[in-house]
Symmetry: C2
């Protein structure tokens, strides 16, 4: 068990943004919310997955909704803890730790806030090893965890508990609509599990990975190094393209930011042109009309000069960006996982081929 | 306390259809479901509101969703009882009786089915004295009942409990979306209350009224009387127009059947032309461009020859119909009620003027 300090927050947010593959919400806001907790004298305690006891009771908690909305409507912080507390009341038991949802943008920071407020530790790990757009795409649920009970809460005091659900896709479907009705953002708690189950289904140590990536980026900035190289040195993977964003199509539909980017190579990549499809997160790279990298492998954009992660809702024409591709964790590569997070799950008739690095 | 027999069902369904003012779902299906319960040997017990004890625990239960959908998707019967049971589990208490939602079409029969399955009585009365399209429009909630906890269940086994809600309009909003996601129909339980509260907020004896109306219609048919006159003899009110449907505009939006009818008078009403706006239920009559009868007073269409209620989803060009207008119960005429069920609540800039009979 260790504690997150204020100094950890900036690098962790940078690393989480990079692992977030363009989605997962705004890391800046999440970071401010976590900082606020520390400055209020609360503690953010983290445990390694190996420290989870078999009979611990864990819950997956975070924010649900479109990151585009979250910019305009800064989450108050109450809704995620309200969701957790609603589940505790429903179960008549207290949770002993929070298992993070995803390692992307805002939602990588939100569990820190929840843990601080509820005074319980969060686990160093998450259910995606990156960000994904839908609820059923967390390893805890992919590998047989219970989607119900689940709870959703908004900042007005509306709270619903999903008492029973057919499957995790139904949970996504029902809660997505409710989130939209709640104004586009809500606090979510789901996938209640014991410690033994969490230890085998969590993608471990991604909070540490995020911080290490962020530290490397900050060091590169300070020492005039190449931030992208610094990221890849920690996370693995390779730079797919260095270039410039030359086109962005984006629309918000059913709470998702969907669209397509075009980048054209510069320098040694001059003459190359790639397209990237996204649904909150970057999903697929096409080059010369052929898909070359797909989910669940990570496709992430960072600014060339600073290594700052670029989210799909803020990417704009003219940005100079490096496209980094990073192999996804092994837990996302099984046939069971690929049914839920592979290219076909996003409507692409493409077989997943693990990224060659 | 008395029991509903199979012979009661046909007249009650006819009367409920007439009080349903064009909405409330399909009385035929509800009747078949109630009959099925009786034939399975279960009992449908009814208590008068005066028989409710102060410390009885009541719940309002029925179906939520568009009647248009309910034609295609016959409710299985499990979802409404599932919703009630989910609330019982949530509260850790058993309900002693069911308070009906509305006296309209299918939803007037559904409480009989729930009572039979759960083996508890239903109260002779309801929360609308007619049908209305939205959840907050029940007297129990208008007069200060609790919209939460509430439960919604579908026939697949999805079940949600609304643990806390800002107000009854929020309950309508969140549950309406969820109902649509669930396929357009769901079982609902809400407005948990004690007996003392129920006795003062229920519109009493509308189940008996529905049966009496239906009996009068059946007697008129048998003795070649005028079915409309028979209805009015029991329910009060007057025949506004006898005529023919000459135009129907209808669309289904957000689970509601919305639209407008035109009727032209025949016989002594020849030369008159009226328009009726509906949102599931008939809301407003216009004649010569002026609103003449509005919600919450009852505007109901019956076939001229048989006195058979005509629902807004089945009304069609060429039907010969009597337009009956019936004063609404006093509990809907207070300023508190008119805020929720008066013309303004449906977007009309018209003051409610009680129907002159």
């Amino acid at each position: 068990m260790w504690q997150i300090t204020e100094d950890d927050l900036v690098p962790t947010a940078i690393g989480a943004g990079i692992l977030g593959t363009g989605g997962g919400g705004n890391p800046y806001l999440g970071r401010l919310r976590a900082r606020e907790q520390l400055r209020a004298g609360r503690q953010i305690r983290v445990i390694d997955p190996t420290e989870i006891a078999d009979d611990d009771l864990l819950v997956v908690a975070g924010g649900m909704g479109s990151p585009v909305v979250a910019y305009e409507k800064i989450p108050g912080g109450g809704e995620e803890t309200d969701a957790v507390r609603a589940l505790e009341r429903h179960l008549g038991r207290k949770f002993t730790a929070i298992a993070p949802f995803e390692m992307g943008g805002g939602n990588s920071m939100v569990p820190l806030v929840i843990g601080a407020i509820l005074d319980i530790p969060i686990v160093d790990g998450d259910g995606m090893g990156r960000a994904f757009p839908e609820l059923q795409m967390i390893t805890y649920l992919i590998y047989g965890g219970n989607p119900s009970p689940a709870a959703l809460a908004d900042e007005r005091g509306n709270r619903i508990v999903v008492d029973q659900i057919v499957d995790s896709k139904w949970l996504e479907r029902l809660l997505r609509s409710t989130t939209i009705d709640m104004g586009g953002h809500a606090g979510l708690a789901t996938a209640v599990m014991d410690g033994a189950f969490c230890r085998t289904t969590i993608i471990p140590n991604t909070l540490t990975l995020a911080k290490d990536i962020g530290d490397a980026v900050l060091a590169a900035r300070q020492h005039h190094g190449d931030p992208s190289e610094a990221v890849l040195g920690v996370a693995g993977g390779r730079r797919y393209l260095r270039g410039k964003v030359t086109d962005v199509e984006r629309r918000t539909a059913r709470g998702f930011a969907r669209g397509r980017l075009v980048l054209e190579g510069t320098g040694e990549d001059a003459g190359r042109r790639i397209e990237i499809d996204f649904q909150n997160e970057n999903l697929l790279i096409r080059e010369d009309g052929e898909p070359t990298v797909t989910v669940p492998d990570l496709i992430t954009l960072v600014t060339t000069d600073e290594g700052e992660p670029i989210t799909t809702e803020l990417v704009r024409y003219g940005l100079r960006a490096d496209v980094l591709v990073i192999p996804c964790p092994d837990l996302l590569k099984t046939s069971r996982a690929l049914e839920v997070v592979g290219p076909a799950a996003f409507g692409y008739e493409v077989d997943y081929r693990p990224l060659a690095v």
